[in-house]
Amino acid sequence: MKYLHIVWRNLMRRKIRTIFTLLSIFVAFLLFGYLMAVRTAFGMGVDLAGADRLMVLNKISIIMPLPGSYTDKVRAIEGVKEVTHANWFGGYYQETKNQFANMAVEGESWLRMYPEFVVPEDQKKAWLADRQGAIIGADTMKRFHWKVGDRIPLQATIFRRPDRSAWEFNISGVYDSPVKGTDKTQLFFHYEYLNEVLKSTRFGNQVGWLVIRVDDPAQSPAIAKKIDQMFANSPTETKTDSEKAFVAGWAKQIGNISLITQLIAAAAIFMMLLVTANTMAQSIRERTSELAVLKTLGFGDGRVLGMVLLESCFLAMLGGLSGLGLAWFLVTWGGDPTGAFLPAFYLPVPDVMVGVILVLALGFAAGAVPAFQAGRLRIVDALRRN
């Protein structure tokens, strides 16, 4: 630490160069942080998927429904702790561009299945008591400036009311979540309300998918197999998978965003490595005779090498950490850049750690060659140069 002063003075020798190098590193790590948030968002919360939850879908594809009777049949299977179901409603608010996730669910079991959706007790009670009630995520409430107690119309895209009017819901409550990255854009309403209208159509008494909780996650594959076997060769076959596998499969369909973001981040950091290494090399070249003087005064090779490395690491830390910091700030307070398509937009802690390690690696890599050259300098040669 006692060399920090001399390192600082060296960096300040050419202020403009130092500032621009700092800014390049800063931008690289700002980008890194931002990209990692994008990657997480496109992962669609796969890290948050419950290990003990399974999804049961129609084998043909997700758009095909399941008979409502499957709920009870699945509940009877040993090892299944809880079953709930949902229907994708696909409604929008006023204009088609105001689309968000809204689903018809079985209220009580749904909230038990997803403890990460936290609803105040009184609002929960109000919801369960109101047939047209809805529970809405905090982000969507903010997006449309709704408040609890409002009556809101949603235009249906799939399930039309016979008179083609909009579906109306009373906002009973708001769900929030202590878990970072939880999707807080959804609207849940009662399946009964939907089925009342659908009963007389071919959509009646059918559910979109089942979610089940198992007693023991280790038994999940066996239970999934048992469920699928139960409905094999029936008109409606099922495909059961862990929630994680389902979310991962869904995310994968969008494309390999993870790889793309990593490639971009790697390109940005490599670029900045070149810039920083170039700066360091230049500044050491300029200081050759000074380093020789230091050595004459009795500074050992290792110490000179260390000082140069310290300088480049210091530069990298200063730029890199502030870049990561700003990225964190922007992601946390700026939120989703696309408006509402990426609900799980946040910067996970492990990615921040990787960022810090990369900052240090950048410092070492950029300083390595000049540091070795400085360490190996022979005093006589160095003093003679210039």
């Binding site: 980008l31 043909i60 490639l263 398509f341």
Partner: protein, 393 residues
């Protein structure tokens, strides 16, 4: 003046060799930005091309009123009949050139990955090829109506496992045989699988319902009259849209995401590269301080000096832009992939497209980065007091 500029720029260019290290850094930096810029935007460009390239303005889609995608539309068999009887549709010896269609998705593994992706399966009627003149069977034959035969789009056949002529696929209780492959100038239809709508209806418990009716108009101008005729029919509540407009709307969401994120990333990286370029040009000016001062002492004006530094920066950045452009074009152009179309939840295959328009944008961007980066150092060079500069080492 002009001769001064030529002379100073000449000196500058010839001495780049002596600053090869830092010049290379600037060039690579800008090339890197251009590669990323093109890489990201070529995704959006390719997707848009797949969605919009050859939708035919004479082909019109009719869906239930208020639906913005086939996925959420629904028409009864009677609706379909009424739509097909509407005046203004082109006719041939078999009747109106119109095809009532059904659109579902099936889970099917991709070649790269055994887990299921959502593949669009379209039930079409006899006039499917009539309403889509761009579609051609390139291998095998069209399916025989009334059978479990399917034809597969070229892109779907490339992207998904086991969809070649002669192979069969099982979705739910139904087994299908692939009898042909079709192409459609690379547009969205190539991501689809087609079967006979009449066979698909019972297989998916759709009764006698459809989701859309595709109709062919005799002229592009006939659209308004046809639309008015539909609106005038009190028995129908439908919306009509030209095929190109429909596809453009479909690609909007993804395009918006890609463009926003693409420009954000390229913008940030560009700022980083500008700082790199500033450093490089400062070094260039610093190492030539005495030389520049000498020129000034000899009577060269400050403008030629500014100009020379800027033109060096411009040259380096254009070289970087060209290298990046060529690299991105070689690496990404034509790369086949697929993604989810959010409006219909189904897979759509497309190829990355590094178009001349994008290359032009990238070159312009790299030039801007170079000039911005060269600006400060150039003024510094011009403002150097001759006497002190001459004294500098």
């Amino acid at each position: 003046m002009l001769s001064q500029i030529v002379a100073v720029v000449g000196v500058n260019m010839r001495s780049i060799r002596q600053r090869l290290g830092s010049s290379t850094v600037a060039v690579i930096g800008i090339a890197g930005v251009v590669v990323v810029f093109l890489g990201v935007l070529s995704i959006g460009e390719g997707f848009t091309a797949a969605m919009a390239s050859v939708g035919d303005p004479r082909t019109v889609m009719v869906m239930r009123a208020g639906s913005d995608t086939e996925m959420t539309s629904g028409l009864s068999g009677d609706d379909a009949r009424l739509i097909m009887d509407t005046p203004g549709i082109e006719r041939n010896e078999r009747g109106p050139v119109a095809s009532p269609e059904l659109f579902v998705i099936v889970g099917h593994p991709t070649k790269k990955d055994p887990s299921d992706a959502n593949v669009p399966l379209r039930g079409v009627s006899a006039e499917a090829l009539g309403v889509r003149p761009e579609v051609k069977i390139i291998e095998g034959r069209m399916f025989t109506p009334g059978t479990n035969e399917i034809v597969v789009g070229r892109a779907a056949s490339r992207q998904f496992a086991g969809l070649t002529v002669g192979s069969s696929a099982k979705w739910g209780q139904n087994k299908w045989t692939v009898v042909g492959i079709f192409e459609a100038h690379g547009n969205a239809a190539e991501s689809e699988i087609w079967s006979d709508a009449k066979v698909l209806q019972p297989a998916y418990q759709r009764g006698n319902s459809y989701q859309s009716v595709y109709v062919r108009l005799p002229t592009v101008e006939g659209f308004q009259a046809f639309k008015d005729a539909l609106t005038a029919n009190p028995q129908l509540s439908v919306t009509a849209i030209r095929e190109p407009e429909y596809f453009a709307a479909q690609s909007q969401v993804l395009n918006q995401i890609i463009t926003t994120i693409g420009f954000l990333i390229a913008g940030l990286m560009g700022i980083g590269a500008v700082f790199g370029a500033v450093n490089t040009m400062y070094t260039a000016v610093a190492s030539r301080t005495r030389e520049i001062a000498t020129l000034r002492a000899l009577g060269f004006g400050s403008f030629p000096v500014v100009f020379s530094v800027l033109s060096e920066a411009a040259l380096l950045s254009v070289i970087g832009g060209l290298i990046g452009g060529i690299a991105a074009w070689a690496a990404f152009d034509g790369y086949q992939t697929s993604t989810m179309n959010f409006q219909s939840f189904s897979q759509i295959a497309f190829a990355f497209a590094v178009t001349p328009r994008l290359l032009g944008m990238a070159l312009a961007y790299s030039l801007v980065m170079g000039l911005v980066g060269g600006m400060l150092p150039a003024f510094r060079a011009a403002r150097l007091p001759v006497v002190t500069a001459l004294r500098e080492l």
